[in-house]
């Protein structure tokens, strides 16, 4: 469906006509002097920022975005936005937008043409296909990620593609896979309207998912009662709204979950019927796998026996009384309980384990599969679910939850893509940390990745331990860094080749949010200068590779991988002049849809998303030809794929429709404070800025409200260190250091011995300090805890 077709037949089109009439007053005065702003047209788009997936109404006049409103028809946000969402339109207009391709010559980035840029990339691939990798993003649109995945998996066939989402939700994925056999939450945001109790596991939604948080706490304004329990390592804005604030030691969440289960068993308050009908028990193996090893319920209980509330108090710092309080809530059948988590549980060297355990708490207590009863992970990026988890832009993945390592999956993909048998490589590529390590290691020492093409992300700021993962590559002449972006980020400044990209409503797009909701928008304004769609860039490189004779760029009939026809004739979409002759998003999406049946993640045709404010998959066609979304998976009352029982885990690991309740022991993190490095460092975000701040730091209102990163320090520690509010300290780990001002009793309040630093500020790179240790299964690094020391910055002249 093209935009103009849509406008012709839609209510929006009718409204525009009507509005034109309405502006004419009877006396003709309004006609003579039309109201300012009368020429604004409105259209829907999901917000560009977090994984909540609010819809905004974008007001456009004179070819520019001039206003934003919350979209009242959107079920997610019901007309409300957060401060980032209200200012999202300004993200397009930072003065230093990249507008022309740039190539580093003699150390300086200099303008080149698009043709030259595309040819340089294609020639890097041709020179060493095995050493070429794509590093993508949960901010890729679904069609962009799909095109990148197809280029790498079906074309170059080296599986070297991984996304920044590896840093953000990989442990949530492994948790869902190991528990239910299939990724993504069973519940949805509707649970937040129904839950009596909401448990926040290391989560600060008042700042990170503000609209969802308001959806919860605004229930109180309507006279409803909802109990909020904050389990975290510091007091945050969220804590102020919570009835219970349980401050734990970093890594203490494992023990807390085990303690809750222990009490549920001890008191016999677990849901015996639910467990008997729907659950199996599991323990891990060495090395760990997603499937683990069978375990009897009795053995599982025995393993739990040592986790008494008193022991858990010692391990976690949360009192035995509070562990019993949590267990007693979970033990009640008359309450609805929803758990929420995001980076606290995911950026964790035992990320898979803690995800498994929280699912386990819900399964054991039967707080699952009813509206308000759900374990739900939240995502930080607008399409971490849509583009990464569903399109499978991961080193081991294929679209629709298929895996490159499985021969039958490769065959399915080859059939859909019309590839010759055996085209898809069965060996997974390198995960993010590994990919960058190899890129930063000389060829002679095994650094077999020599070119990385980064799209829609800023790894030189967001990767952990950038001293080791990024910096060395910048001194090695063999290594070539290509970056597609919209602003001169840290990564762009280090790049060898820079491609200027179109941003958000400067292109067509689709995102998938945290509750399985797939969303669509149309291009509304032109990108600046020569900036072009990321998706076009990928297709142009694929076509150039075909011209240079790369065998992978054709299907088995000799047609281009991204062959597109209109009225029986091929459209040269690799030529930017013709890119919008067809709706490439629609073509790619409708092809991708075919993959979504294998794991019951069915998507509707593109045209359905044009009409909707997003639809939650599985979206299943009804007898009357309409499409129905699914709010609650695995539950008979809502999920059409449930065929027996009230709950059916139809992708069960154990193939018996049951979910797995795991046992994972409590463990210490890899690095704990000691005499030399006595403080815990936790990193994260603030409400004003989104991730590395490349967009929000260019928005005057957001910048003014939070212009600089800082270090949150407890008053007692500040006293001991002899530093006052605003004084600059050096924070130092075994890997690196940075300098920044302290903020005492500021936005967040860590307990003594802990400090917090947000990572949005490119002038203060806290990821020179963080640790690249990661979860053994999800490969997601732990940004939430490492050991640092802090000292006051000596006055100038002294050392």
């Amino acid at each position: 469906m093209e935009r103009r077709d849509f406008l012709k037949g839609s209510a929006m089109g009718a409204a525009t006509v009507a509005a034109a009439r309405l502006t004419k007053g009877k006396d003709g005065l309004a006609l003579a002097a039309p109201a300012e702003g009368a020429g604004v047209t409105w259209n829907k788009a999901p917000c560009r920022f977090c994984g909540t997936g609010c819809h905004v109404q974008v007001g456009v006049a004179g070819g520019k975005v001039v206003a934003i409103q919350g979209d009242e028809k959107a079920e997610v946000n019901k007309g409300l936005l957060c401060v980032k969402g209200y200012h999202v339109g300004l993200a397009l207009y930072g003065k230093d937008r990249l507008t022309t391709p740039l190539l580093r010559k003699n150390g300086k980035l200099e303008p080149i043409t698009w043709d030259q840029a595309i040819e340089i990339i294609a020639k890097r691939v041709m020179a060493n296909p095995a050493g070429f990798a794509v590093y993508g993003s949960g901010q890729w649109t679904i069609p962009e990620g799909y095109a990148a995945n197809k280029l790498v998996k079906a074309g170059i066939a080296n599986n070297q593609i991984d996304p920044n989402a590896r840093l953000c939700m990989a442990s949530a994925v492994t948790g869902f896979l190991s528990t239910y056999g299939v990724d993504e939450p069973a519940g949805c945001y509707d649970d937040l309207d129904k839950a009596d109790v909401i448990v926040l596991w290391g989560n600060n939604p008042a700042e990170m998912h503000p609209v969802l948080f308001s959806r919860i706490v605004d229930r109180r304004s309507r006279g409803e009662s909802v109990t909020l329990i904050d389990i975290g390592t510091r007091r945050t804005r969220t804590s102020g709204f919570c009835q219970h604030v349980l401050t734990m030691k970093p890594h203490g969440d494992l023990a807390i979950a085990l303690g809750i289960m222990h009490v549920l068993i001890e008191k016999g308050t677990y849901d015996k019927d639910f467990v008997a009908k729907y659950c199996n028990f599991r323990q891990r193996t060495d090395p760990p796998t997603l499937d683990g090893k069978e375990m009897s319920f009795d053995d599982w209980k025995k393993a739990l026996a040592e986790y008494t509330p008193e022991k858990v108090e010692k391990l976690s710092g949360v009192s035995a009384k509070d562990i019993r309080m949590l267990a007693d809530l979970f033990g009640r059948r008359d309450l609805k309980i929803t758990s929420l988590w995001c980076m606290g549980m995911n950026q964790h060297t035992r990320g898979t384990a803690i995800n498994d355990l929280v699912h386990g708490v819900h399964l054991l207590s039967g707080h699952f599969g009813k509206p308000g009863d759900a374990p739900t992970s939240l995502t930080g990026q607008p399409s971490a679910c849509g583009t990464v988890r569903e399109v499978g832009t991961l080193a081991h993945g294929l679209p629709g939850g298929l895996l490159v390592a499985k021969e039958e999956h490769r065959k399915e993909a080859e059939a859909i893509w019309n590839l010759p048998a055996g085209r898809i490589n069965g060996k997974p590529g390198y995960h993010t940390v590994d990919m960058w390590k190899r890129f930063s290691t000389p060829k002679a020492k095994g650094g077999d990745i020599d070119t990385i093409w980064v799209q829609v992300t800023n790894p030189a700021q967001s990767l952990p331990n950038i001293n080791e993962l990024v910096d060395p590559s910048r001194k090695d002449p063999d290594k070539f860094l290509i970056v597609s972006d919209v602003y001169p980020t840290q990564t762009v400044k280090m790049a060898d080749l820079v491609l200027p990209s179109a941003l958000w409503v400067e292109k067509n797009g689709m995102f998938g949010n945290s509750e399985r909701r797939t969303q669509q928008w149309f291009k509304m304004v032109e990108p600046p200068g020569q900036a072009r769609d990321d998706c076009w860039q990928l297709i142009a490189v694929a076509h150039k590779l075909m011209e240079l004779g790369h065998p992978g760029m054709k299907d088995k009939d000799g047609k281009f991988l991204f062959h597109t026809e209109k009225d029986g004739k091929e459209v040269p979409i690799w030529d930017y002049k013709h890119y919008y002759d067809v709706n490439v998003d629609e073509r790619l999406f409708n092809e991708y849809r075919k993959f979504t049946r294998f794991k019951h993640k069915d998507l509707a045709p593109y045209s359905e998303y044009v009409k909707a404010r997003g639809l939650r998959w599985p979206v299943v066609e009804q007898k009357d030809g309409t499409w129905r979304e699914t709010k609650f998976r695995f539950a008979k009352f809502d999920d059409p794929y449930v065929t027996k029982g009230d709950i059916e885990f139809y992708h069960s690991v154990t193939k018996d429709s049951r979910a797995l309740i795991w046992f994972h022991p409590h463990e210490q993190p890899p690095e704990v404070p000691d005499a030399a490095y006595p403080f815990w460092l936790c990193t994260g975000r603030v409400i004003e800025h989104w991730h590395t701040g490349s967009l929000t730091m260019r928005i005057p209102q957001l910048h003014a409200a939070m212009p600089q990163a800082y270090l949150e320090l407890h008053r007692d520690d500040a006293k001991a260190l002899g530093v006052a509010n605003g004084e600059v300290v050096i924070v130092e780990s075994r890997r690196g250091s940075c300098e920044l001002p302290v903020w005492i009793d500021g936005r967040g309040q860590p307990p003594p011995g802990s400090v917090f630093v947000p990572f949005f500020d490119e002038t203060i790179l806290i990821n020179r300090v963080t640790l690249d240790a990661h979860d053994p299964l999800s490969k997601q690094p732990d940004y939430k805890k490492c050991a640092v020391r802090i000292r006051k910055k000596p006055a100038a002249g002294k050392v």
């Binding site: 005065l29 009368a38 604004v40 409103q69 008042a206 948080f213 308001s214 804005r237 005057p700 409200a705």
Partner: protein, 242 residues
């Protein structure tokens, strides 16, 4: 219209001042302590009254609070009528524009706020207040719980932090939607701007509103009775038959 309006304005102001005087007279001064059969005996123990008496006779320290209230009010000089001028309107809109990225964006906060904790804002902004020349506008939308979700401070929240140069941004938001249209001269103007998140007109147009956009008839409570909103701007576009 001119004459009719000034009469309306006059009545409006008289009523407003009446109401204000009425409330400010609640605490009477010592020499106004009511005496006589309705008042309590000075220093003595009050005699218990029947509920029937209580209905008919006021008693207690404020028993005389209504006495002569209207008389006192009418002795006050009449208030200046509200005069809407184009200059004042533009000045008001200009001031508004300085606090938001575009008309419809949540205004930024010109004063310090606590960085933690909910609902601190409503102590002033729930009803609005004017103290000297400083106005705390009434919130224009229903009270939500997490105010800092949308409203951020205009300046670095960290005490004494050095000023960092603002980023350059070429966004030109819609500063104002202009004036509403009138079907004929003297007809009530339509609402020119979207009303999402600002259903309470009194926030900007009420008694604490800036000169130039303040209503001339604050006693009227149902604004949309006369002033029509724009369906398209309010995301309720009329659907015409194809």
């Amino acid at each position: 219209m001119g004459t009719a309006r000034s009469i309306h304005v006059g009545i409006a102001m008289a009523l407003t001042v009446t109401a204000a005087g009425f409330f400010s007279g609640i605490r009477g001064s010592a020499n106004e302590t009511p005496q006589g059969p309705q008042g309590d005996p000075p220093g003595g123990v009050a005699t218990a009254r029947s509920y029937a008496d209580a209905r008919a006779h006021r008693y207690g320290p404020n028993a005389g609070m209504y006495d002569g209230a209207f008389g006192k009010l009418s002795a006050l000089p009449p208030p200046a009528p509200i005069v809407l001028t184009e200059e004042a309107r533009l000045a008001a809109l200009d001031k508004r524009a300085k606090r938001r990225a575009y008309d419809g964006a949540p205004p930024t906060v010109p004063h310090r706020v606590l960085q933690m904790g909910p609902l601190d804002c409503v102590s002033c902004h729930a009803t609005g207040a004017k103290i000297g020349g400083v106005v705390a506008p009434k919130v224009s939308h229903p009270i939500y719980q997490s105010c800092t979700q949308c409203h951020v401070v205009m300046n670095d929240p960290r005490e004494g932090a050095p000023k960092v140069a603002p980023p350059e941004n070429t966004f030109e938001g819609i500063a104002t939607w202009g004036k509403g249209s009138r079907a004929w001269k003297g007809a009530p103007p339509t609402i020119p701007h979207p009303t999402l998140m600002r259903p309470d007109c009194a926030s900007c147009h009420g008694v604490f509103g800036a000169d130039g956009i303040k209503t001339t008839h604050p006693w009227r409570q149902s604004c949309t009775q006369c002033h029509a909103a724009n369906a398209e701007k309010d995301q309720h576009p009329p659907v015409l038959a194809p």
